[in-house]
Subunit: 432 residues, 2 copies
């Protein structure tokens, strides 16, 4: 059993991340062999087009367009999946697990949508499915959740886990840019894709939050469970008010467990300026966790990129390869509880920032305050300024005390119907 | 081999941390049993005085004053050592390992002074020695270094790993307190001990840095290798200048590897205000790591306290107990390379902040600049102000470009000898 001569690896995908993995395997071969106890042998690489020019130096005989070349190779012990996307990656990972191969994946989408099923499949076949690279790039997150924090009852996860949007929001906050300009600059720098929908609408963050929440609560939280709302509604004015009021706006991925139910949501949020998480700027990611024993901990680093993602993939790979080399095949497996109660978005309680254009005349605030009060929404502070004399309108900013989401939504609909209210410009949830 | 009915635990020490461990074991019994696969059974607790009143509720029959009651109990699989200090903890841990018992320890002193020897002893006897709780309380650090970051070549570790001094420095920076007042307030709040030497002189941080550096570089770095310098020389004026110049002063634990040599040092340092690490305030700890793949990552949380430390101890305990329950006894062991080249403090290169009282007359700066220039120390900026008209002195603050420590020390001795120089008030290294 012990002392396997070498560990065979099959790589699925040779894009940016795949290229980074190949490079790291090549440059760190000696150190990896020392850490594992035997060499890691890259036997096959699945690509779409073998003729495509690539920076990664892979011997042409290793390239294949047939997944079966990896799946049916008995010398391949571990499959590294870095194709991304649901199709055909999901099928390939399932098939690899079913044929008794360990899998290391960076694929947030398949883990967020099918994580529990895949983990169970791995369990049934006595293999491991590791996914440190699926969230937070090179930041150790899955490992700490699976091991270091395991004695904790986690109550809250607050995460900035999309570098594209954090870059855009940082530019809007620090340089007063509007959303469209900040997005364009992010695209020019390669931080945002030509079609930025997945990032700016919070879909990417929702995938990652589903994975983090599953680990934090050991429950089957799926991508579909996560409410998500993007950042495109935010304007430079919101950032100015936020600063004046002592806040910073971030696209926040939130997972909370209270009273036996779980809430998972991604949306822009006001965070107090003093919070370390609020100071995480640019393309960096950070995840803040509150545990009953450990209190508040925070993990920070680069959430994307070939090298950081390779760091996570290699950590999983080394750990697996050590086990294979030592003949350990009974490592405790991660299993997720299928039972979970999700709190509907309508039921969440939080504070709100409301910005609206109103008629600049007496009694307006009273009318608005009455509607809010009728919905049990209590006002914490009001700022009124920047009256537009020509249009005879003023801008009103209201910060509420904690209120129920549904009540706020209903009240806002009524406020919007008031003749003295021109427009509800924005509302943003306030977290602390 | 598989399916051990229960795991026996012996606890050495029932102080603040020991009490926290007992409480967590009691309150989380069911969840721990589920995670491990069988119950954890606390069989013995070593104390000095069984009659002492304690908040921890331990059945009196479990208390013993004889370490042999733990060491010779064949049903005790894991020893948790939370006595602290070198004597007699070191002997007890050695004996436990030699008799084939796994050990979980929170003892930074024995790990910093004897880590490599203890790990080798564990290896020889086929058991594990885990020490997540020895550094950074509830912050996952040892785990990430041992697993998640293992593919990385780590170049630098910058750590704020002493909560007492970070609290004092935060108060000095934010509230303009002098050192003595801030220390007294820390003592009143229980953040500093009646004899604060170990904390304020950087000894505690040096222990922890030795452990972190050993893991980061997989080398045998010992407490004695670490240069340490305390915070008592810092004055409110230094904090004012630091702020004006764009810096924050922290007691920094630094481990760097460059050109094949390792430097490990603990001393006050100027950190740029923009650095996330510089924003870590109060009793919180944070460790910033630069790896070749992952780039910069940072771990943040509470570095001390019964509950956070229990979180780390229980994580180690669960992990060990899972292995014992599953009959895994071949987990890859941590071994440290005995070979390492340490860079002498005299050879480090960094920038310096120099503050001195000088005669308030023309030509003084020229004399000082000449001595610095003669020692190849180049001046980056000079601030002169707050002349004391009566004494005819002025305060001069010089920021240097990177220079060799020895050159700076020699130059300062010569500057101090100048008739126009009243006093070198302080010098602080500047890191970035």
């Amino acid at each position: 059993m012990k002392g396997k001569g070498s560990i065979g690896i099959g790589l699925m995908g040779l894009g940016v991340v795949g290229g980074g993995v190949v490079k790291a395997l090549q440059e760190k071969g000696e150190s990896l062999t020392k850490q594992v106890g035997c060499p890691l042998n890259l036997r096959r690489v699945l690509v779409r087009d073998p003729a495509k020019p690539r920076s990664a130096k892979v011997a042409p005989r290793l390239l294949t367009t047939e997944v079966e070349d990896i799946l049916s190779d008995p010398k391949i012990d571990i499959v590294i999946e870095v194709m991304g996307g649901e199709t055909p990656a999901l099928d390939y990972v399932r098939e690899a697990l079913s044929r008794g191969k360990h899998v290391v994946t960076a694929n947030k989408e398949i883990m967020a949508k099918h994580g529990r099923g895949l983990l169970n499949l791995a369990y049934e076949h006595g293999v491991d499915l590791l996914f440190e690279a699926s969230v937070g790039g090179g930041i150790p997150l899955i490992g700490p959740f699976k091991k270091d924090l395991m004695a904790n009852q986690v109550s809250t996860v607050y995460a900035i886990i999309n570098g594209t949007t954090n870059y855009i929001l940082t530019r809007m906050a620090n340089d007063g840019l509007d959303f469209a300009t900040a997005l364009r600059q992010a695209q020019e720098l390669g931080y945002a894709e030509p079609d930025p929908t997945n990032d700016i609408e919070g879909i990417d963050a929702a995938y990652k939050l589903a994975i983090l929440a599953s680990l934090a609560f050991r429950a089957d939280v799926r991508a579909d469970d996560v409410y998500h709302e993007g950042i495109s509604r935010l304007s430079a004015r919101d950032f100015r008010y936020a600063r004046e009021l002592g806040y910073i706006i971030k696209l926040l991925a939130i997972a909370k467990r209270e009273d036996g139910s779980i809430q998972v949501r991604v949306h822009p949020a006001f965070l107090p300026q003093g919070l370390l998480l609020a100071k995480v700027d640019g393309v960096f990611n950070a995840v803040q966790v509150d545990g009953d024993l450990t209190g508040r901990v925070l993990f920070y680093g680069r959430g994307a990129g070939a090298a950081p993602t390779s760091s996570a993939i290699l950590a999983d790979l080394i750990s697996l390869a050590q086990d294979i080399h030592l003949g350990i095949n009974t490592r405790p497996k991660l299993r997720l509880d299928p039972a979970r109660v999700l709190k509907p978005m309508a039921d969440i309680h939080t504070r709100y920032y409301l910005r609206m254009s109103v008629a600049d005349r007496p009694g307006v605030l009273a009318q608005i305050a009455k509607i809010l009060g009728d919905h049990l929404i209590s006002i914490a502070s009001v700022v009124q300024k920047e009256a537009d004399e020509k249009a005879q309108t003023a801008e009103l900013v209201i910060m509420t005390h904690p209120a129920r989401e549904q009540a706020v939504q209903e009240a806002l609909r009524k406020v919007e119907g008031l003749p003295v209210v021109e427009e509800i410009n924005n509302f943003v949830r306030v977290e602390a």
